[in-house]
């Protein structure tokens, strides 16, 4: 189908779902969760087709083993998908919240009310579980979505998509075309140009995907390309805390974006040899002369550098980091405050592993992704990041001229 028609239908759907009751939205979500559970065998079957094709590509080295693994759905992943949808049901409806109520003058009251963004373009790589996750977040926040999944998962994606859409179509009062799917590279190119209808692009995938998208669209993009996280071990750091935090931040899940890539150590930290030895014992591969200080290793490699003071550490992070998550290990509260105030990152941590940078761990219940943007939403983004607000002004015939002439005066009284 012509992409413009898809986009126009999405826009129409977004206006229709904008004011749908939470009851209907939750009803649809629970029915989707049940349908996925009930039709899991058909999903596994479709997934098996994709896995066969992917195996051939993996054997030829055309896709990575980890991409193959991400593509694979099993009972555990399917249970998580179903539970994820149910979790979204239990979250507060993020739209129609009154964020401000201000009387500008008698019988002239301004309301700032949260509302959906509109149409989301989601571009994701070989993880078919993204469809149900993003679809449920979109439905809960009253946004329409256009999904483009990786071609390796095409059969699985189509199956999950058709389950979701037959539920959506079966529920009276649920608008058509809230969840749509496209398949080709040409569709992606059109999506990135389609700023008339699409309000936000969310890429879910590797940094090359995100970089490509950011470079090729004027539509706002929510996400992060790099996760170059740092830990600075200050002069006064507790050695056990330092070992524990650095080891967790590197080794607990090395390919995660919130894993640490660079360790900065204060030159006067008395236990630095002990720290480095302990890290090596945990099979961390230390590198003191990396090709670049902006590498995201994604494995057990950890760059390290001795710095003269906290200022040098802060400057290093602001120069080579990606604004994702950075941590200071110290007993000095003043240094902790200085670090957290001066490091320009979405997450600035004091004596805690960078691996806490995550929507679930922050208590958001569900996560759209992690943003290193400096506008709209930063850090782990929950449902709130899929909303904006509008101003409702309820008057009784007031005109601006009366206030400009000085005949009337605003009193600007906050009621909420």
């Amino acid at each position: 189908m012509d992409f413009t028609i898809i986009a126009r239908n999405a826009k129409k759907a977004s206006l229709e779902i904008a004011n749908l009751s939470e009851e209907i939205k939750n009803d649809v979500l629970l029915k989707i969760a049940n349908a996925i559970e009930n039709e899991k065998n058909e999903i596994f079957e479709a997934n098996l087709k994709d896995l066969k094709e992917a195996k051939i590509l993996a054997d030829k080295g055309k896709i990575s083993i980890s991409a193959y693994n991400r593509l694979k759905l099993d009972e555990n992943k399917l249970r998580d998908m179903v539970q994820g949808i149910k979790d979204v049901v239990s979250l507060d409806d993020p739209v129609n919240k009154i964020l401000m109520k201000r009387e500008l003058d008698t019988d002239l009251t301004l309301y700032k009310v949260s509302c959906p963004i509109g149409v989301l373009g989601i571009i994701f790589e070989a993880r078919p579980d993204v469809i149900s996750q993003i679809s449920s977040l979109a439905i809960k926040s009253s946004n329409a979505v256009i999904l483009k999944g990786g071609k390796e998962a095409v059969n699985t994606n189509k199956k999950i998509f058709s389950i979701i859409n037959s539920v959506c179509n079966s529920v009276k009062d649920f608008p058509k075309n809230v969840i749509q799917q496209v398949f080709t590279r040409e569709d992606v190119a059109e999506m990135l140009k389609c700023d008339t209808y699409i309000n936000l692009i969310i890429p879910r995938g590797g940094k090359n995907l995100v970089k490509y998208i950011k470079a090729n669209t004027n539509i706002p993009v929510l996400g992060h390309a790099d996760g170059i996280c740092h830990i600075f071990t200050d002069e006064s750091a507790d050695i056990d805390t330092a070992i524990k935090i650095v080891t967790d931040a590197k080794m607990q899940y090395p390919s995660a974006c919130n894993s640490v890539e660079t360790l900065l150590i204060h030159k006067n930290f008395p236990k630095k040899d002990k720290l480095l030895a302990a890290l090596q014992l945990s099979e961390i591969k230390l590198v003191d002369n990396p090709e670049s200080w902006s590498n995201e290793y994604g494995d057990n490699t950890l760059a390290f550098k001795i710095v003269n003071n906290i200022d040098e550490a802060i400057e290093h992070i602001n120069t080579y980091g990606s604004g994702h998550t950075d941590c200071i290990v110290t007993k000095n509260i003043d240094n902790a405050e200085k670090f957290m105030n001066n490091v320009d990152s979405a997450g600035v941590y004091f004596n805690a592993s960078t691996r806490f940078a995550d929507g679930f761990r922050y208590g958001f219940g569900a996560e759209v992704g992690i943003s290193t943007n400096k506008t709209h939403a930063r850090g782990p983004v929950g449902l709130e990041g899929l909303t904006i607000y509008k101003y409702k002004l309820k008057g009784s015939g007031q005109i601006a001229g009366d206030y400009i002439s000085g005949q009337k005066h605003f009193h600007h009284k906050d009621l909420i």
Copy 2:
């Protein structure tokens, strides 16, 4: 100077001003206000030079009379500039506000804290008063700015800029390069490409400028190109209210972006002839067959259309409007709610003139501009629109592995 150096210096300045005390920021702002007041004769002298050149261009028809008028500074405008800076002093500091405080677990507390965006690129046309306005908003919100003014105002801009910068340079502890200025088209082209250092572009000028900028940058742009505002006169509208509101919204200041361009009238509104006659009496030029329903006239022209019902009105606005500000005049509360919920605009009004869409009238104290974006900030934008937030996590040695293994559990207790 090489633009990259300017941008890099701005980035450095943004990190330095990020944590400057409100006291120093207000001190600088008051000194700037006084310096502008004290050196007003030099400013008028520089302005006169620009006006001489502009007069020649205006006589040749190369710039409009209104552009010439906007360029002209007089005692009144200068007084407003000075007062504007003083008003910003009295506003709350928008940074370092704790927006959320949540205990994730014992001694592991997450803070969401407001902070500046970083570096703002401001591109404005022939209004030299923008420099002091934007500079003071940037200083108060701890952002660095790079300003590019219209070439017609080059002498005035340089003079005001040099006054601001000698104050900034004279105050101990105020960082260098917070306010910088560039002059050429090439600088603008470089600015739009410079997403490494510039975090937000704010255009202040006509719609061609805004459209050009939006089409030529990947940096987020805050603003609006069009202001195609509507008033829908419902079946049950009070005739006097309708006449008063439409007249104010069209005639109080026809070239403003929040002026009405299209009047929609319910076919069963019994007083429609009286309404149209009254509008013509107020010298409004009515057009029932416009070339386009998306025209922004900027003068006394008002397109009008008879619609069958409120749904047609809403659909018309969502199709041809610009998402700026739209109003329903009615006595029917249900229709008012329906209109405000379903019209997808930054401002949705009930029985009040569209001309209220303004930061000062909303009580924001100062205005960055009016945004029709669906992300970050929408509608009139005050100081808050120049901020984002960071997450500070204060721990006592916690690692993610303990929570993933199930050894420890989050309790997610909101403290604010």
